[in-house]
Symmetry: C2
Subunit: 223 residues, 2 copies
Amino acid sequence: MKLYSFWRSLASFRVRIALNLKGVAYELVPVDIDRRQHRGEAYAALNPQMALPSLELEDGTVLTQSLAILDYLDEVFPAPALLPADAKGRARVRALAAMIACDAHPLTTPRVQRYLTEVLHVDDRARTAWLRHWAAEMIVAVEAQLAGHAATGRFCHGDAPTTADICLAGHVTFALNQGLDLASAPTLRRVFEAAMVTPAFASAHPLAQPDAPDELRRRPVAP
Amino acid sequence: MKLYSFWRSLASFRVRIALNLKGVAYELVPVDIDRRQHRGEAYAALNPQMALPSLELEDGTVLTQSLAILDYLDEVFPAPALLPADAKGRARVRALAAMIACDAHPLTTPRVQRYLTEVLHVDDRARTAWLRHWAAEMIVAVEAQLAGHAATGRFCHGDAPTTADICLAGHVTFALNQGLDLASAPTLRRVFEAAMVTPAFASAHPLAQPDAPDELRRRPVAP
């Protein structure tokens, strides 16, 4: 399968982690958002929403939307599972994932930043404050769900990574890049650190991608 | 079970539709966002994210995040199914749902509108333009996924409502309230109209809720 991905895209980061966790081989096809390649005819034909990532299956089916792709991968490659075995546990993991993927991440995407700058004429300082505000709000909210909850383990839910950790990895990476610290969120920080030393997460990191700028790119980590 | 809901909340609307489709009886507990009841101590103890809806199960477990609740309901009350039987079909439905619930809806929520007004000092005209922009963008994107796709039927995917139609119902209701028309999205309009004449959708409509303002409220529709 082919993953259309951009090194800095947090939604692409999620799918890279899941593919690594499942041990599924894939061809990475970089799509450069900064150069607006996602708005070009070739990519729009593949994914009319012109958003990243897209996962093209062997039969040509194109899957879109990272959360939908994670569920698909979990159904087709069941081990290791990205969701707990019980319905209430799955609901908790999915809620944590949705808090990040629905309620926080979309507010910080390039299209929204562009609207702030180009239409609302928001200056750089206010744009950065916007990004930090939504990133910080979600760190507080996720910490409140993790801290002291009986199901929180080494990871968000138990001792193996789930969809919640996959979403958390991207969110915290973004928050740290925005200069936030995690002092008020010790549980979230501990879980994030446990995730990021896992090879499947580390090798999916934006700065480990072949399309990351040379001056930023880390030495690849074996998955 | 108890559904903590606000009449105008589109995420609450989703869960009301799903409960109606499944024929699951529930007690509606209105939480008035306009009066900031969701930020009060009682609700924050239930749902630390202070977002709507929350679904409290008989054993006291509180489920949050509408998409996670829809998946839970579909697992615990499997008929009628909210997702297709095949993995690729499920991925398509989940992607349509995520386009709306992740990429559009969060941009139009009260907390974001409040930030625009109170922090960025955006005036009413520009705030309305913001809401219409994201609502319209998603109508175009969803129409592109529905029109001409072999799996699109009377509803978004086949001839029975799925999670995609549930999300679409709220999005289009919001868009119409913002004065958008659906002239450029004939497939989406047809699907939306099919959904809204279905009793499970009609009786979940914001204006059919007991906590809707008297002057707006419709006569209840039997589910």
